[in-house]
């Protein structure tokens, strides 16, 4: 067996990649996010006319052929293409191409909340209209959510642990947390971790419309996502992907890697309450944050910034606020909280991963992105939500919250190096 140093037990982020409705690539989306730009618009990927919800935040600058060979790019479900793109960006950013035996020590854990529903929908239509013999042999591999990890490992020849998380809108955060544990205990030198989601297709828009969780502001897309504002009325659905390269600290140091920050805490809990509604007291969210604080050995006053789940639903924003107050006490009123979903909508299973990327950039640049569309205060939402304008502030410790249908709650803690 090849020699390998013992794991340091510390896990750092050495590469980041993102596909977002404000642009593909960190350099594209981050300046626009700091400028408070909005990516919500009338849906263009499908004809939205028949649907209750007709607006979304779409990625419009993504070209699969930039990341995959032409044959694959043409037919693959976009959630897989997004994952490959995010992973490729993260590796390029890290300046590292694991090869040979080292590649056996690098794994992939990129989840998806729902997987390849676009491809499934097309093939289902084909089956109904043309018969079962017309269903593509690629339906199974392009539909299953684990193919984001599987495909990425094939493209980059990464032979370490390969896995998938499916926890609805907590997927991306769970994937990062679980991959953090893999590296921390030494089962891999590094993991590509994150989430990818492409829900702007007919069946998803119909289904989320039926679930009555989305905003009804079809006529005013730019003001539709308004987390913590009193007049919020539901989330804006979005597509995207975020990927982090999580690496053992000593390994990263030895190769002279730049480090965005250290993963220091990972809390999770179950609501055990309702299939789509959060716990009526925000108890699950509270316990996820409490666990993250405990295993990161943090005091409430250590936290500078929380990237909130902040979906812009009545329930979430009120109960998340309550949970933050309960977890952090008076310190909750001294830190900054913002919801970047106000600008890029809710990317579901990718949200936790994109928001982790944002937390790291916040620490790197000392700039906190705003909650836009914040106009009318809600007495139940009484924290400092960084309204409408980015703020400059030294940021050393961040939390990122993500909660999913099914009652999955995750809170990740990061510290600046």
């Amino acid at each position: 067996m090849p020699e390998r140093p013992a794991p340091s037990g510390r896990v750092v982020v050495t590469g980041i990649g993102a596909v977002t409705p404000l642009g593909t690539g960190v350099d594209k989306f981050w300046p626009r996010m700091l400028a408070g730009e909005n990516a919500v618009d009338r849906i263009s990927h499908i004809d939205p006319a028949p649907y209750t919800t007709q607006i979304a935040a779409e990625v419009r600058d993504f070209n699969a052929e930039d990341w995959l060979d032409r044959k694959e790019a043409r037919r693959i479900d976009k959630f897989i293409a997004f994952a490959v793109a995010g992973a490729t960006m993260a590796l390029q950013d890290a300046g590292w191409k694991p090869e040979g035996e080292e590649a056996e020590e690098v794994g992939v854990l990129i989840g998806s909340g729902i997987g390849g529903l676009t491809f499934l929908g097309e093939q289902h239509r084909k089956m109904i209209e043309q018969g079962p013999d017309r269903v593509s042999p690629f339906l199974v591999p392009y539909m299953i959510p684990d193919m984001a990890s599987g495909y990425t490992s094939i493209v980059h020849k990464l032979k370490g642990p390969n896995n998938c998380v499916v926890t609805a809108c907590a997927t991306g955060a769970n994937a990062i947390g679980d991959a953090y544990h893999v590296v921390k205990r030494g089962d891999a030198i590094a993991m590509l971790a994150g989430g990818s989601e492409t829900p702007i297709n007919e069946i998803s828009i119909a289904a989320f419309s039926a679930a009555r969780a989305m905003t009804g502001r079809n006529d005013d897309p730019t003001h539709a996502s308004r987390p913590f504002d009193a007049d919020r009325d539901g989330f804006v659905i979005a597509e995207g992907c975020g990927v982090l390269l999580l690496e053992d600290y000593e390994h990263a140091k030895a190769r002279g890697a730049k480090m965005y920050g250290e993963v220091i805490g990972y809390g999770m809990s179950g609501d055990a309450f309702h299939i789509t509604q959060p716990d009526a007291e925000g108890d699950g969210a509270y316990r996820a944050m409490r666990m993250a604080l405990r295993n990161a050995c943090l005091k409430p006053e250590d936290i500078d910034y929380i990237n909130a789940h902040g979906t812009s639903t009545q329930y979430n924003d009120r109960l998340e606020t309550l949970a933050i107050r309960r977890a952090l006490g008076d310190a909750a009123y001294k830190l900054k909280v913002s919801s970047t979903k106000s600008m890029i909508g809710h990317t579901l299973g990718a949200a936790g991963a994109i928001e982790a990327v944002i937390c790291l950039l916040t620490m790197r640049d000392g700039k906190i992105p705003p909650t836009i569309n914040y106009e009318k205060p809600d007495p139940d939402c009484d924290l400092d939500y960084v309204p409408n304008k980015a703020q400059d502030m030294e940021v050393n410790v961040t939390l990122s919250n993500s909660f999913g249908f099914g009652g999955h709650n995750v809170s990740l803690a990061f510290r600046k190096m």
Partner: protein, 85 residues
């Protein structure tokens, strides 16, 4: 007729396998020369069925390993269809 079929087989193959047109010569094997895997072959066969309005039973897929074999097979199928119809 045959040259028309060859052109259409080429067009479908270029689209489905993402290869260059000049690679799609009569002697080229879909799997060995044009990089198709077993799933690509299923998809390619379905595309031929759509393009030519024919039905290719699973047990006959093995007969069309090369571009030339596909052209001959399709010619035969179309001729049978005309006789029958």
């Amino acid at each position: 007729m045959a040259s028309d079929i060859l052109e259409r087989v080429k067009k479908v193959t270029v689209e489905e396998l993402g290869v260059k047109e000049e690679e799609v010569v009569e002697g080229a094997s879909f799997q060995e020369d044009l990089g198709a895997d077993s799933l690509d072959v299923v998809e390619l066969v379905m595309a031929f069925e759509d393009e030519f309005g024919i039905d290719i039973p699973d047990e006959e897929v093995g007969d069309i390993k090369t571009v030339g074999a596909a052209v001959s097979y399709i010619e035969k199928k179309l001729a049978e269809g005309q006789k029958g119809g």
